[in-house]
Amino acid sequence: MTASIQIQRTPDVQYLLRVGDTCLILGQRLAEWCGHGPVLEEDIALTNMALDLVGQARAVLTHAGKLAGPLDDQKLDEDQLAFLRDEHDFFNITMVELPGGPKDGDFAFTVLRNAMVATLLKLLWERLIDSKDLELAGIAGKAVKEARYHQQHAADWVVRLGDGTAESRRRMEAALATLWRYSEEWFQADAVDDHAHATGLGPRWADLRPTWTSEMNAILEDATLSAPKASAFRSTGKHGVHSEHMGFILATMQSLQRSFPGGVW
């Protein structure tokens, strides 16, 4: 087994890793659908989106790795960050680590999560284009185009299932009841966001809330669904405190690199 790496938990590093890890873990979850999609077109769609998300994660982790080394002059690369960090050093939002694949979830859960997260990421990338961090701005310029396509595709499915058959609607309502409360976490202000806002690295996620809510409500309205009432529940993934599912996803994702250190394709 390869020992875990340590990172510097500065506000900049945490802000970047919230974005990069959210893309990485959702990409990993969507990849679970490879070969298991309900129809061939959606199998291809989910894995194409996984590919985009992993690509975005690679770019952000590579960039974060320049700042995240435990010693000031030490850089970490994308693979070290993805495969050799322990759970508490991942800062993805909790929603993306929830199981929702073909074995333990369903397609309604997956497309609703995709719609919610793609809407968030689209709004985030749109703002990150103006980041003072020019590398991050460059990554955002590409990623925003991909996120728009993901949002549109996922939203189409939310509408189709919500305003579909009794069974598809039942599943979509169940997904909404489970997932909606996990969006509260995203918009809780904290020192990492304040620092990013103050230094021009990126927006406070809380500032994205009004637009996110109105876009999601438009989707849900078309789907003849309505958003559940606000909940007091707060997940904490973006602070490095994860659900019980995170360890399992990391075990799958990291096993090859831990067992065969430095292995490459």
Partner: protein, 174 residues
């Protein structure tokens, strides 16, 4: 021959070589047709070729880097390196007219122009998507429809022709 003239010649030769490097996933197009070669520069370390990747996760990017370097080396143009430049982001508007024609002849419906700022109006309920009318690369009919928003590679969607009944791929405008 002055140094400047020699450098200009080298750059011109490099562009010619790059016209022969094909995209591994869409071999109808060269990397120049695709518009991902943004610049060829010469400095004291040799030649620097600036590439802009198409999609964040496109697995062809690394293959293209290697193919470009191999082709430059095979042409004997000296030391070369590839630099990836992300901004401004690649757009299908950079595919040359020649490239779009080659795509069509290869059987892939080329992308139309990207809308203002790349923003695609979000339309929900898109079961019968108001997607642009594409011309079937096989029979040239305009009676076509989208089968799948995603295709065999990140850059493509899948369509079918209702006239000749053949499926075909479309290079998505982005």
């Amino acid at each position: 021959m002055s140094l400047q003239v020699a450098e200009d010649l080298l750059v011109r030769q490099a562009w010619e070589v790059l016209s022969t490097v094909l995209d591994p996933e869409v071999p109808a197009l060269s990397v120049r047709d695709l518009g991902i070669v943004r610049d060829v520069l010469i400095d004291e370390r040799g030649m620097e070729i600036i590439l802009t990747p198409t999609y964040s996760g496109c697995p062809a990017t690394e293959v293209i880097e290697q193919d470009v370097l191999s082709a430059i080396a095979a042409a004997g143009l000296g030391a070369a390196r590839v630099t990836l430049r992300r901004a401004p982001a690649w757009t299908t508007d950079w595919i040359s007219e020649d490239g779009k024609r080659k795509l069509f002849e290869y059987g892939i419906a080329p992308p139309g122009p990207v809308l203002d700022g790349g923003a695609v109006p979000i339309r929900f309920m898109a079961r019968q998507v108001a997607a642009p009318r594409l011309i079937c690369p096989q029979c040239k009919s305009q009676n076509t429809e989208r089968l799948s928003a995603f295709g065999a590679t990140a850059c493509k969607a899948l369509y079918r022709c209702l006239a000749c009944k053949e499926p075909f791929e479309h290079f998505k405008p982005i």
